[in-house]
């Protein structure tokens, strides 16, 4: 057991290291370097940087050194928590991301809770009452949900929200509260704005989860142990929930790994459409502007969170699935 966790931990560290290398390559990918961008910024004011000055700047930033030396310096800075400054925002990268991180987490958590809250009960119901009228309805809605791109859904809901209900367009606060310090009024204002983005974010995932849950549970329900349980007179509720549902939850647990990065970045397209102050649009913007310290940090962060998330889902799998635990002892 301990050996398993240690092994996974070492693997996780190795993966994070590999991600840092890839991230660094991403930073270096666009033509030109930071100094080129800086020179452009200066010449935008009508002044021209001389070659000697440019070289001096490259020395200052260590850009004239071999790539592996640059990598070493960068990773040492990153390990110390110094991610550099965003070129576009003129602020430390950590501040720029930090500003938006909490909002992103709030929205994403709300979305996940809604997703699970809707998808699990419906999935279970659909499987247990297979081919019932309600199952057909849920199946139909589910397929539509999978087929409709959620940014389109966002646009449609936003349009009708504006047209019919005079809802605030995009953003998480109404203009009265945007500047106000945190208060109950502001929290309430946030609560009023939260459902729309959270529901839109949740819907696409919901349809998919319903299908997965239904299919998994159907597989389990046909197993002999379910028949046995029923034959022994176990209450239907217990016969379904105690074992088959637990087994069907396996795929959920193994996808928790992808939830963590989602929590942090949110959905880029939806956030963009709804103008949510989350990390997603920031990443897109940074990539477009070649604001590479910012983009690199976000990519690295997402990578690390994926690794951590996977590690956590391994642990959860171990906990809910005795077969995995048993497998470790063999």
């Amino acid at each position: 057991m301990i050996a398993y966790i240690v092994r996974r931990l070492i693997l996780a560290l190795l993966t994070i290291w590999a991600i840092s290398v890839v991230t660094f390559v991403i930073i270096q990918l666009p033509p030109g370097d930071f100094v080129d961008a800086y020179i452009v910024q200066l010449s935008a004011s009508g002044s021209v940087v001389r070659f000697e000055e440019a070289q001096a700047l490259r020395q200052l930033y260590g850009l004239d050194q071999p790539v592996w030396v640059q990598y070493g310096k960068w990773i040492i800075r990153v390990v110390q928590g110094d991610f550099g400054a965003s070129m576009e925002w003129n602020r430390p990268v950590t501040e720029v991301i930090g500003d938006r991180l909490w909002m992103t987490i709030v929205i994403s958590f709300a979305a996940i809770i809604i997703t699970w809250g809707i998808a699990l009960p419906i999935g279970i119901y659909s499987a247990v009452r297979q081919y019932s009228f309600a199952d057909y309805i849920f199946t139909f809605v589910g397929f539509v949900g999978i087929a409709v791109p959620n940014f389109l859904l966002a646009l449609i809901i936003m349009y009708f929200g504006f047209k019919l209900f005079d809802l605030n367009i995009g953003g998480l606060f109404s203009s009265d509260y945007q500047l106000a310090p945190w208060s109950w009024g502001k929290v309430w204002d946030l609560m009023k704005h939260l459902p729309l983005p959270a529901v839109i974010l949740a819907l696409a995932g919901t349809a998919q989860l319903i299908r997965i849950m239904r299919a998994n549970l159907l597989d389990e329900l046909r197993r002999p142990y379910v028949t046995t349980a029923r034959a022994r007179g176990l209450v239907e509720w217990r016969a379904v929930m105690k074992y088959p549902v637990r087994a069907a939850l396996n795929p959920f647990a193994s996808t928790i790994g992808y939830l963590l990065p989602f929590v942090v970045s949110g959905s880029i397209v939806i956030s963009l459409v709804l103008s949510l102050p989350t990390v997603g649009p920031l990443l897109l913007r940074a990539l477009l502007a070649q604001d590479m310290f910012l983009a690199g940090t976000i990519v690295l962060l997402l990578g690390i969170l994926t690794v951590i998330g996977t590690f956590i889902s391994d642990l959860i799998l171990m906990w809910i699935d005795p077969r995995i635990r048993a497998g470790m002892h063999e």
Partner: protein, 686 residues
């Protein structure tokens, strides 16, 4: 992503403007319909502007101030309003009535690169500012000015008692400080600017007394008066010229900025150490951050509002400058509005939707003309009124052919071929563009400035090489050696027989240039020219053009209507946004030491004419400008499409509550739309 982008034909707009009945009545004359419906719609107002009362006898003798400031005075944190105002007052009579204090002006902005959104609101922080017609300079920071008869000395008379937003006096010393310690500091500005260097001879700033500054030149420089009144490096003022790592603008707060310069801070080592301690890499990066009013709330400024929450936040907040030096005739210290809040919109669609929802109080920047029907539809709900302000520039989508492009010799060869450019211009169906993207209200034609302006080169130059003639375009392309086509009908390169592919770099900024360019590319495809439209982020696009990497760049030529004041989108003389040839602009700007000399004699001729204009008196300058326009249009270095429209900052949504807003804005670079209309005089009626 395109919610609300409605591309409607002319008749649809007319119906919205006039009501259905009228449309049926004159449906047989669709050409005149759009124009007449535009003028009858009540959306296009009459030019009107504030009045500056220069006679001291009519000035108010007692003064009022905003309640918050009165409170601070009571607490002893601020001197009384009388002591904050200069002896040489600036008294502005608003467009309509005396206003009331209070309220927040809500606007939308698109991010830290959109500093101009706020810079423009502080347009009065320049020595001179043009009036509402865009033609006549008014006093601003300077109460008066004078050009000597020989054209070699220009004098600014500053306001006695003028104060920075921290209460420190603003004097001639601030001009001298800028000249000696910023402009002449090679670390900050390695190079002089044409505005201060007529015929390559550097000029000087000389203090006569505390309130009199001379700009002294070795050669006649009559143009300097125009430069000082325009949106130029020398006359631009602090807000725009010293934000975003810029360092021009003729003056700077010496008492505050000195501490960040090595000269006054114990040398480079000490200044760098101090910068590092604050998290900056060098003293220079720190200096750039400290003199930027959008980033540094502590920076003393002279405009009506100062930043309290920097631009690199989700909301950029400005508050009134307690030492603002302008009063209304009743003695109320301006501005009336307490605050300006700019909320970050992640994309332009959201910004436009918020405007329609009435979430902004006055917004003209980033408003999409394509949404005009929806904007009109929502007027009552959003509690705003729509104004259409017509621009003076020739074209809202100008296709600059990079004359200094080098990376691909074959492409470069064609970009530099006049007949190639003319043929592509003839292949553009401007009517289709006008109807699709400008709702038919714009004027198709060349890049020339509006016919009403003195600089317009004359009859025939709107149409020259700028009509739709596919047949002639094909003939011309065949004749210059591009007759060979591939299987799909596209013309091929002369060096390797592959398809000739032009890249059009388009930014989604004020207009949907990527979409407009897709249509232009389709039109070019009909004469066998493949153009790939590259939808590029604004900063990245500028980086690429600075690095001479683009083939064709689409932008607008707003500002070129006053050729000498803002030439960069007409001729490559300014390395900033030199889409027509960044290397040539560097060459011209550096006096031949950097960049690349143009081989094209016509460009050299333009340079020569442009340089000679500075020493010419007004009448000759106008003739020279017409000459330059004739060469530009005949050579088609840039293709004009449609212009003189409300497309750029001309669709204005004004809250019903806002008073003193003119019914027509001057839409031009040097009018600093909307700042030229003196937003400090606007107020909330209720």
């Amino acid at each position: 992503m395109n919610l609300g982008t409605v591309t409607l034909g002319r008749s649809m707009l007319a119906r919205l403007l006039l009501g259905t009945a009228l449309v049926f009545g004159i449906a047989s004359a669709p050409e005149t319909l759009a124009q007449s419906s535009l003028s009858q719609s009540g959306l296009v107002g009459q030019p009107e502007g504030i009045t500056i009362i220069t006679d001291p006898a009519q000035w108010p003798k007692t003064f009022n101030e905003a309640p918050q400031l009165a409170e601070l005075v009571k607490q002893g944190k601020l001197p009384p309003v009388k002591d904050r105002l200069p002896e040489d007052l600036m008294v502005i009579k608003p467009v309509r009535e005396i206003g009331k204090y209070g309220g927040t002006w809500r606007r939308g902005f698109t991010g830290p690169g959109d500093d101009e959104n706020g810079n423009r609101l502080n347009a009065s922080d320049r020595p001179l500012l043009v009036d509402h017609t865009g033609a006549k300079p008014n006093p601003s920071l300077a109460k008066a000015w004078k050009m000597s008869d020989d054209g070699k000395t220009f004098t600014l008379f500053l306001r006695k008692g003028l104060k920075w937003s921290d209460g420190a006096p603003m004097t001639a010393n601030d001009f001298v400080f800028w000249f000696e310690d910023i402009y002449s500091n090679k670390d900050i500005l390695p190079q002089g600017i044409p505005d201060m260097t007529p015929q390559g001879k550097p000029g000087r700033i000389v203090k006569v007394d505390d309130y009199t500054v001379n700009f002294v030149f070795d050669v006649p420089f009559y143009l300097f008066e125009d430069l000082m009144a325009g949106d130029t490096l020398i006359g631009g003022g602090q807000a725009v010229r010293q934000s975003n790592k810029r360092s021009h603008g003729a003056y700077a707060p010496a008492h505050y900025l000195k501490q960040f310069l090595p000269k006054y801070a114990g040398g480079v080592e000490a200044a760098n150490a101090a910068a590092k301690a604050e998290g900056f890499d060098t003293w220079l990066t720190r200096f750039h951050a400290k003199k930027d009013w959008t980033l540094n709330p502590a920076l003393p400024v002279l405009g009506p509002w100062r930043t309290v929450q920097p631009i690199n936040n989700a909301i950029w907040v400005m508050e009134r400058n307690p030492f603002y030096w302008v009063v209304d005739p009743a003695g109320n210290q301006l501005p009336y509005l307490d605050r300006v809040t700019m909320t970050l919109a992640e994309n332009l669609e959201v910004l436009n939707l918020r405007a329609m929802a009435g979430e902004y109080d006055l917004q003209e920047r980033h408003i999409d003309i394509g949404k005009l029907p929806v904007i009109l539809e929502n007027q009552t709900r959003g509690k705003y009124k729509v104004h259409l302000d017509l621009a003076l520039n020739g074209t809202d989508a100008i296709y600059h052919f990079n004359q200094s492009f080098e990376a691909d010799p074959e492409i470069a060869k064609w970009l530099r071929n006049a007949d190639f450019r003319r043929a592509l211009s003839l292949a553009v169906d401007r009517k289709q563009l006008n109807e699709t993207f400008w709702l038919g209200v714009a004027t198709p034609g060349s890049t020339a400035p509006g016919e009403a302006l003195p600089y317009f080169p004359g009859p025939g130059w709107r149409e020259k090489w700028s009509t739709f003639d596919q047949k002639k375009a094909n003939e011309m392309l065949d004749a210059i050696g591009l007759a060979k086509k591939d299987a799909q009908g596209f013309r091929v390169r002369t060096d390797n027989g592959q398809r000739l592919r032009l890249q059009v770099q388009a930014v989604q900024a004020f207009l949907p240039w990527p979409k407009i360019s897709e249509m232009v590319a389709d039109q070019w495809a009909k004469v066998g020219i493949q153009a790939d439209v590259r939808d590029t982020e604004r900063n990245l696009a500028f980086t690429r053009t600075q690095n001479n990497e683009h083939h064709i760049m689409v932008w607008n030529n707003g500002g070129t209507e006053l050729l000498y004041l803002f030439p960069r989108h007409a001729i490559p003389v300014d390395p900033t946004e030199a889409f027509m040839g960044p290397e040539h602009a560097k060459w011209f700007n550096s006096g031949g030491t950097q960049g690349k000399k143009p081989d094209d004699p016509n460009i050299m001729k333009i340079f020569e004419l442009y340089q000679s204009a500075a020493g010419q008196k007004s009448d000759d300058r106008v003739k020279t400008a017409q000459e330059i326009w004739k060469i530009l249009i005949d050579q088609q270095y840039a293709i004009g499409t449609v212009g003189q429209s409300p497309a750029l900052m001309g669709v204005r949504l004004v809250s019903e509550r806002l008073g003193n807003v003119p019914s027509r804005n001057c839409i031009a670079q040097h009018c600093r739309t909307p700042g030229g209309a003196h937003p400090e005089t606007w107020y909330y009626k209720n």
